[in-house]
């Protein structure tokens, strides 16, 4: 046996616990603190109810291409820096998601029902004149 460890927890262990906790708190501040208010424009992709990905559009360097799959169908999505998300191509029967075109502002979304995929924009600058909800 190389070394015999202590098997009972001691106060020094509490130090490790505190260190980890402090790290967690620091991370929480760093990661979550900046998200108050509206935050940066972010594309939130959910597949069958579960959040699959969040893409902060302002951080993209050039157009990003992503594919998402659900319900046996695959969507090819392009995302532009600073807004502009569209479904380029989908093999779903309805093609509603492709017809939706480009979304650019928080609150807008692209949905593919057969694939159960929702792409929604959140955050971004607050525009008081932008609609709260769109019908049609």
């Amino acid at each position: 046996m190389k070394s015999s460890p202590k098997l009972r927890p001691c106060l020094w262990d509490a130090l490790v616990v505190l260190l980890v906790a402090a790290l967690a708190a620091a991370c929480a501040l760093a990661v979550w603190g900046g998200h108050s208010g509206s935050g940066p424009l972010t594309a939130v992709v959910t597949v069958d109810g579960a959040e699959a990905e969040r893409v902060e559009l302002d951080r993209l360097k050039g157009t990003a291409e992503r594919t998402y799959s659900g319900g046996g169908y695959t969507l090819r999505v392009s995302m532009e820096p600073h807004g502009g998300v569209r479904v380029e191509e989908a093999d779903c029967p309805t093609q509603d998601c492709v017809h939706t075109g480009t979304i650019t502002r928080a609150g807008q979304s692209i949905v593919c029902l057969p694939a159960r995929i929702i792409i929604r924009l959140e955050g971004g600058p607050v525009d008081k004149d932008a609609p709260d909800v769109v019908i049609g």
């Binding site: 509490a14 998200h35 208010g37 959910t46 909800v133 019908i135 049609g136």
Partner: protein, 358 residues
């Protein structure tokens, strides 16, 4: 063991500490927004107030309940049971009975422009099967013989269809759902909310800043642009429902066929309109969870789209129902009735010409 307890305590405290960071929601605004796919559409429930989360999930449950009750594709639903009863009378329950009665009323009031028995014709065009085709005139003639409110017999909770007749409550289901959700908002003291059920919107209360909710009407000519509006409605406590041919369509032989079928011809309504938005007040005192203003707006938006501009405005002027209209025409005009002219904001970049009628 004491030390272990101390360590466990420290761990718990630390977890509690990091747990504090969990609450990232702005405490000034108890706001909850959920998105749900139901009734073949996307629904967004955004509610404010202490019980916002509760109200959102109650609403989702309610919508799912209605879907399983009214769906034509779910063979277990009451509507399917009635469609499959082969002409025999069955008990449909008070709720579906009430909806059938409401549907009959709107059917008669609109001279058949709204009709729940159009279902087999819509199916013939493939709008329920997702495999679109253009049916032959003979096929349509055969199906149209079984279309009309007289093919539904309703006696309180019991209903029967003429053999071969099929109904689809899709034309009022979302409107009725909005009436039900309004009841949930009322029961849970929700001060403000926007409820979007596909083309049906309920603007409940006002915005947190005290101004009316801004409801954009999708520009039918740019249906693929989510930020193109034919205009903006500033609404407080109101239902608004839009029907438009651009919402679901297919192309065959160079022609475009949309999903709103004119019961008179069996063909997609060709009335010169590209979208109809019906707006009506939502009086909190009158919200009781029964088919109400939301249901009415849903039925009328379809019917008035079929009728076309002239007939729709005549119907509005008749004053049978209390509502207002925003019509978008194929020739690039947006017609607003004077009851909501002050609540309507034109969209400058849209290129439409705007007119107010009285």
């Amino acid at each position: 063991m004491k030390r272990f307890a101390a360590a466990a305590l420290a761990a718990l405290m630390a977890a509690g500490l990091s747990g504090c960071g969990w609450q990232t929601v702005d405490p000034d605004e108890a706001r909850e927004s959920i998105q749900v796919i139901a009734m073949d559409t996307v629904m967004i429930f955004t509610t404010y107030g202490e019980k916002s989360t509760h109200a959102d999930y109650l609403s989702e449950d309610e919508v799912r309940r209605l879907e399983s009750l009214l769906s034509r594709t779910d063979s277990e639903s009451v509507v399917s049971q009635l469609n499959n009863a082969g002409g025999l009378g069955i008990s449909v329950g008070e709720e579906v009975g009430g909806l059938l009665a409401a549907a009959e009323e709107y059917s008669l009031a609109t001279g058949g422009a709204f009709d729940i028995t159009i279902a087999p014709v819509v199916s013939a065009w493939g709008f329920t099967e997702e495999e679109n085709r253009v049916p032959s005139q003979e096929e349509l003639d055969g199906l149209l013989a079984l279309v009309g409110p007289e093919h539904v017999t309703l006696d309180a909770d019991a209903a029967a269809l003429t053999p071969g007749t099929q109904i689809d409550l899709g034309g009022i289901a979302k409107g009725y759902a909005s009436d039900r959700v309004a009841e949930i908002l009322k029961e849970n003291n929700i001060p403000r909310a926007t409820i979007s059920l596909g083309g049906n919107v309920l603007a409940w209360g006002d915005r947190p800043d005290g101004t009316p909710w801004r409801v954009g009407i999708q520009d039918p000519q740019n249906a693929d642009r989510a930020d193109a509006y034919a205009g903006m409605l500033k609404l407080e406590n109101a239902f608004a429902v839009t029907s438009g041919g651009y919402q679901r369509f297919f192309e065959a032989d160079g022609r475009t066929y949309h999903h709103i079928i004119d019961p008179a011809t069996g063909y997609p309504a060709d009335s010169g309109l590209t979208s109809v938005t019906v707006v009506a007040d939502c009086d909190w005192d009158e919200v009781d969870g029964r088919p109400g203003v939301g249901t009415m707006c849903d039925a009328l938006s379809t019917a008035l789209f079929v009728m076309g501009e002239e007939k729709a405005l005549d119907f509005w002027r008749s004053g049978v129902y209390d509502f207002d209209l925003v019509l978008v025409t194929e020739d690039g005009r947006v017609v607003v009735t004077d009851g909501i002219a002050n609540e309507f904001e034109a969209s400058e970049e849209s290129g439409y010409s705007y007119e107010v009628v009285s």
